[in-house]
């Protein structure tokens, strides 16, 4: 007989985890598809009954998305324009059914190269709060996502929240996902941008690409190139030679590597075109 724990307090969850051998369950949108069994396999720690883990808040200069927060919660939240990309991504995760169950943090823990949430969170300079019975630590998202389906999560540890500095929650966010169909689709490539514009000039740009490397990546060289330039010129400055060195796509059933490089570049270009077309300037 397997055990199923559904505590209401975080500390209880951490104590259970310390004993080891538990699979953490939140939205379950990745756990069930991994089995044909009629029930979840193994001993389960269900974290969805812990009120402290659910919700989005701004406290002491830090935006916090609790680990049990669903895509629907995110989609419906009243958030600044810098989150618009992340909210757009939320609308494109699977389907309404998946968005109602699946969690933003779970998406990171599964660590698919095509995780819909990762590019936007990278542009928001997100980090991941990890807790265990022994304490807490915070890793940047880049430190947390080690590779395809690999994270820095240690035994006995869970993600408790995704954190974003309020200072990074400025400017306008946007997101584009490219797939072979409209709904219920895994990305061939995707791109996220958060751009701060002042007097028509790009003050700062945070740009990330997903599904084109084992983990989503920020395009630092491009970001530096764009800074200080008129937003209307930004799209023209996006060239394959500056985008592709950061990427390491693979050939798979959805597309080949060369195509992904082209597509990623074009998606970034289009994000910047949309950014330039927005009438109002999203100031900090």
């Amino acid at each position: 007989m397997t055990a199923y724990h559904r505590p209401m307090e975080l500390q209880e969850a951490l104590d259970l985890l310390a004993a080891g051998g538990l699979t953490v369950a939140a939205g379950c949108t990745d756990l069930y598809p991994a089995t044909t069994a009629k029930a979840l396999k193994g001993d389960i720690l269900d974290i969805t009954a812990i009120p402290a883990l659910r919700g989005i808040s701004l406290d002491a200069g830090v935006w916090r998305i609790g680990a049990a927060t669903t895509w629907t919660d995110l989609r419906r939240a009243d958030l600044p324009p810098s989150f618009a990309g992340l909210q757009a991504a939320a609308r494109e995760v699977g389907s309404v059914q998946i968005q109602n169950a699946g969690t933003v943090a779970g998406n990171l823990c599964t660590a698919s190269p095509a995780a819909d949430g990762a590019p936007c969170l990278l542009t928001l300079d997100a980090s991941v709060e990890l807790r265990s019975a022994e304490g807490a630590r915070v890793l940047s998202l880049q430190e947390f996502l080690l590779g395809a389906r690999r994270t820095a999560l240690r035994p006995g540890e869970i993600v408790t929240a995704i954190l974003m500095p309020e200072a990074s929650a400025s400017g306008q966010g946007d997101f584009l996902k490219l797939g072979a169909r409209k709904y219920l689709v895994i990305s061939i490539a995707m791109a996220a941008a958060r751009v701060e514009i002042e007097d028509g000039l790009i003050r700062s740009a945070a740009i990330a690409v997903g599904a084109c490397a084992p983990v989503a990546v920020r395009l630092a060289a491009l970001e530096q190139r764009l800074a200080g330039h008129p937003v209307t010129e930004a799209a023209a400055m996006v060239t394959e030679d500056i985008v592709t060195p950061e990427l390491s796509p693979i050939d798979d059933i959805r597309g080949d590597a060369a195509y992904r490089l082209t597509a990623a570049t074009e998606l970034v270009r289009r994000l910047l075109l949309r950014c330039a077309a927005k009438p109002a300037e999203a100031a900090a």
Partner: protein, 906 residues
């Protein structure tokens, strides 16, 4: 601490419902298996199809992804709650024809209900966004959107057509009611007392030898009794198939597997016992063998000893001197096109239950061919046919793959050996790995025309990957050369198609039997030739369209050829679309283009008998009963056949009671394939209706113009002033319990093909042509199909509502084949890697129906089911080329392939 989960309860559709389940059990299992609420369907167990959608505290969730514990204390709304929640939504689904097979309908209704609660008058885009997580394989989605957008007002139920007015009426499907209430009972939805479950052990290898280990020892480790049956337990001939001389597939492999997913044993036990078993520990030693699964990697050794070189069969049609005429043609064009394995992807994985009724084995399962299932199962199990009874369960889509037996011999064996009812429900991956596919093809074609655009000759040479077993591969090899010319005059012709064995999944029947692949070649070449000759592409097709009196490439002169009428009907749409492309399409990163393609398709078996028999009777108490054995897998034969019969008889269709294709109750109507049911079974029904009418007229001594009415046990015959009443209760009943009855058989008149493919392979053909309007993203290679205008010649439109549903659903499958569908064995055995169109991928579809009566079809009617998807993919590919210059030679046209083709065209 671990919270005790002892007493759980949820409010299901408003009723407090205690339940007991392990906390991590899928809510879908709790609802279906524990609470027996079978309205919630399971299509994938992975959140990919949305069929199991229920409302959890008002929000749509996939019940298959929801731990049971989360329903504790919650409100759960299932399809069974829809009647009280939104009866108007259910009625709207019926009125709009939004349910075909009905397997996705419960999930759609619940999801739509959540939308309508917050937004009672949604836009089409809002409906698509809200419902985008539910897949439908039958409808093409448009009628579902129509239905959800049309729940605002109470509408009276449409009046049932009066006598003689059923044919042509926009009649709701007669069997629709249970599909919208959740009461429809599919293969997985019947459980009898003491039912055991059956699971199969399947090959993970494309080719392997194997030896079984200590099965008894393995089974003994289970928590309860488990029985394992292998090939050694099969009492009859361990082979099934569909075509005599090509029966080659073991129900359970003995010591060798030729394809992935092949069953090597079945495990039978109580559900709870099997749930606790890890089937991956089953004791078997595999010795993988060299294998090849595609045409580039044909297996070196022969899969079947009687088929050297792995060539199963070749089909040939030739007339005139094709090479000679090509050499003298003003223009010639040539192309080679590769297509992929395409999965049927019905939302209902195979399911059924078998039990013993005395010494009769009863099989109740999904099917397109109940009598063939009975015969194949009886043979495998060593039973006489009269000791096997097949009761068709409601079938959640088929499209060809449910013509073959799948689990029928397995559950039959289990029931025979255990003496208990045995149920089997395939998992999604099991369904995808083990059942048939559309043939991947590599086809080369060459066509020539003269300076005025008259086609002079065509050659076609195709290899079709038929996979490890024959299935319907021979049919594909025969149908392709007959149809590869398209519905066009081709005086010199040489077409050959070979079915080649590989270790890929057996390729069989899939809506069109190879013709959709072949049409890609011919229609691409017609565009080349039109351009070379400087003739408008639609005009080029009109110049060459077959007309009455013309001979086909088989030398046949069909009657009622409607292709020119279809193309003429498209002309104004073609001109409008051409103008739009001129205005909008030539520059920028998004380019518009249009394409046109045609179809023709022979209805029924190719040059072989395929009779249907219809029984119609009236009981002493006045029940009018139609024994309608054509399996209705959503396409609508229950309704269409009844319409034809009712009008021939002269009583209202609404008075008919339908008896399905239960082999113990109903004569054989053959298989639901080859677009034959409206034509063949419809004609048998018409003849039966006429025969019963003539018996009644003779009995009442009335003339042909008399009208009938049936009220209670009084059958009244009225002729002008006179009326005669037949008291049914006074008449003796026959062996079937009818006081008045007729039984008629119809078999289409055909002539077999000779060694050159000459003959009269079909008695009736249907025709159609479609225009695709697309937008191609020139930098991303993505394609958006904006509109499909589909003109189809149905001879006589028996039911426009259902006919539109066929067109829209066929277009969806054609679009999927063109743009996204590619089954890769071992890699895409799920519905998130194998993509079918969703709500957001469908264009606007305009159906135009032509009625050029067929002299043979019932009331002039022709078949439609397969025709509708044949033109779609070639029309889309031609439109892509028109927009972008990209010549797509490998399907599907995924974005990276389109972009590569754009670049190579530049």
């Amino acid at each position: 601490m671990n919270r005790p989960f002892g007493k759980l309860q949820m409010r299901v559709n408003g009723a407090v419902t205690p339940f007991a389940a392990t906390p991590g059990r899928r809510l879908s299992e709790v609802l279906r298996e524990d609470l027996r609420l079978f309205g919630t369907k399971i299509g994938c167990d992975a959140g990919d199809c949305g069929a199991c959608t229920v409302l959890l505290n008002g929000e749509p969730v996939c019940a298959c992804l929801t731990p049971a514990i989360r329903a504790d204390g919650a409100e759960v709304t299932t399809v069974e709650g829809m009647a009280s929640e939104l009866p108007r939504l259910q009625q709207s689904f019926l009125r709009h024809g939004a349910a075909q097979c009905g397997i996705c309908t419960p999930g759609l209704l619940t999801t739509a209900a959540a939308l309508l609660r917050s937004n009672p008058a949604p836009s089409r885009a809002e409906v698509e966004d809200a419902l985008g997580g539910v897949l439908c394989r039958c409808t093409g989605y448009a009628k579902i959107v129509d239905a959800v957008c049309d729940t605002g007002a109470e509408r009276p139920a449409a009046a049932c057509p009066v006598s003689g007015k059923a044919v042509g009426a926009r009649l709701e499907r007669l069997d629709g009611g249970p599909k919208v209430t959740g009461e429809e009972s599919y293969g997985a939805d019947l459980v009898l007392p003491d039912t055991l479950e059956v699971r199969a052990i399947r090959s993970p290898h494309h080719a392997a030898r194997f030896t079984l280990g200590d099965i008894a020892g393995w089974a003994a480790k289970a928590t309860g009794k488990v029985e394992v049956f292998t090939a050694a337990d099969i009492p009859g001939e361990n082979l099934f198939g569909t075509i005599p001389d090509f029966v080659d597939q073991p129900a359970i492999a003995g010591d060798r597997v030729r394809q992935r997913g092949e069953a090597i044993a079945i495990v039978v036990g109580e559900a709870a016992t099997l749930d606790g078993l890890d089937l991956s520990t089953f004791p078997v030693d595999w010795t993988p063998e060299d294998s090849g699964i595609d045409l580039d990697h044909l297996p070196e050794a022969d899969l079947h000893p009687t088929r050297p070189g792995n060539r199963m069969i070749a089909g040939l049609v030739r007339c005139g001197d094709a090479e000679g005429a090509l050499a003298q043609s003003a223009f010639t064009a040539q192309t080679t096109i590769d297509t992929a394995y395409v999965e049927h992807a019905y939302i209902e994985p195979e399911a059924g239950i078998a039990w013993l009724d005395g010494d009769t084995l009863v099989i109740r399962a999904c099917t397109q061919a109940p009598v063939m299932d009975r015969d194949e199962t009886a043979k495998v199990l060593g039973l006489p046919r009269d000791r096997v009874r097949v009761i068709p369960a409601a079938t959640g889509g088929g499209f060809g793959a449910k013509l073959d037996v799948s689990l029928q011999p397995l559950i039959g064996l289990a029931a025979l050996r255990t003496g208990r009812p045995c149920r089997m429900v395939y998992t999604r991956s099991e369904s995808m790995a083990s059942t048939t596919k559309r043939h991947p093809a590599r086809m080369t074609g060459r066509i020539g025309c003269d300076a005025e655009g008259h086609v002079t000759a065509m050659t076609f040479d195709g290899d079709f990957n038929t996979g490890a077993y024959a299935s319907w591969g021979p049919t594909v090899a025969v149908r392709v050369p007959v149809h590869a010319s398209g519905p066009y005059r081709t005086p010199n012709y040489h077409a050959e198609a070979r079915a080649m064995h590989t270790n890929g999944p057996a390729a069989g029947a899939f809506r069109g039997f190879g013709v959709p692949q072949a049409a890609l070649v011919q229609e691409a070449l017609y565009d080349d030739l039109a351009k070379a000759a400087g003739i408008d592409r639609l005009d080029f097709r009109l110049i060459n369209a077959l007309r009455d009196g013309d001979r086909t490439v088989c030398g046949q002169k069909p009657g009622g050829i409607g292709i020119a009428e279809c193309l003429e009907a498209l002309k104004p749409h073609w001109e409008r679309a051409s103008d739009e492309v001129r205005v909008q399409g030539i520059a920028g990163s998004i380019r518009r283009g249009i394409g046109v393609a045609s179809c023709w398709y022979g209805c029924g078996n190719t040059g072989l008998p395929n009779p249907s028999t219809i029984r119609l009777g009236i009981t002493a108490s006045g029940a009018l009963v139609l024994h309608q054995g054509a399996a209705d897998i959503g396409q609508g034969s229950n309704t269409v056949v009844a319409q034809l019969c009712a009008d021939a008889l002269g009583l209202p269709v609404g008075q008919m009671t339908l008896v399905d294709g239960d082999t113990a109750k109903t004569p054989d109507c053959g298989k639901t394939s080859a677009s034959r049911q409206t034509f063949v079974t419809g004609k048998a029904a018409m003849l039966a209706g006429k025969m019963l009418r003539s018996k009644i007229l003779v009995m009442s001594n009335m003339g042909d113009d008399a009208t009938l009415s049936l009220e209670g046990d009084a059958l009244t015959v009225t002729d002008g002033k006179a009326a005669r009443e037949i008291r049914l209760g006074d008449l003796p009943a026959d062996a079937h319990g009818y006081v008045l009855a007729a039984e008629e058989t119809y078999d289409p008149p055909t002539l077999p093909l000779d060694e050159n493919g000459q003959g009269e392979p079909y008695a009736v053909y249907g025709y159609g042509a479609q225009i695709a309007e697309v937008a191609v993203d020139m930098t991303l290679g993505t394609v958006k199909v904006l509109r499909i205008t589909a003109a189809h010649d149905l001879g006589r439109v028996v039911n426009p509502l259902l006919a539109e549903g066929q067109v829209e659903g066929g277009v969806a499958q054609g679009l999927g084949m063109a743009l996204m569908e590619e089954y890769i064995p071992g890699r895409t055995e799920n519905l998130h890697d194998y993509l079918i169109p969703t709500f957001g991928d469908m264009p606007e579809i305009r159906s135009i129906f032509i009625e050029k009566a067929d002299p043979e079809g019932p009331m002039g009617a022709k078949g439609l089911g397969e025709h509708v998807l044949i033109p779609t993919a070639p029309a889309i590919l031609n439109a892509i080329r028109d927009a972008s210059g990209a010549r797509i030679t490998r399907l599907p046209a995924l974005p990276h392939r389109v972009l590569a083709a754009i670049r190579s065209a530049e």
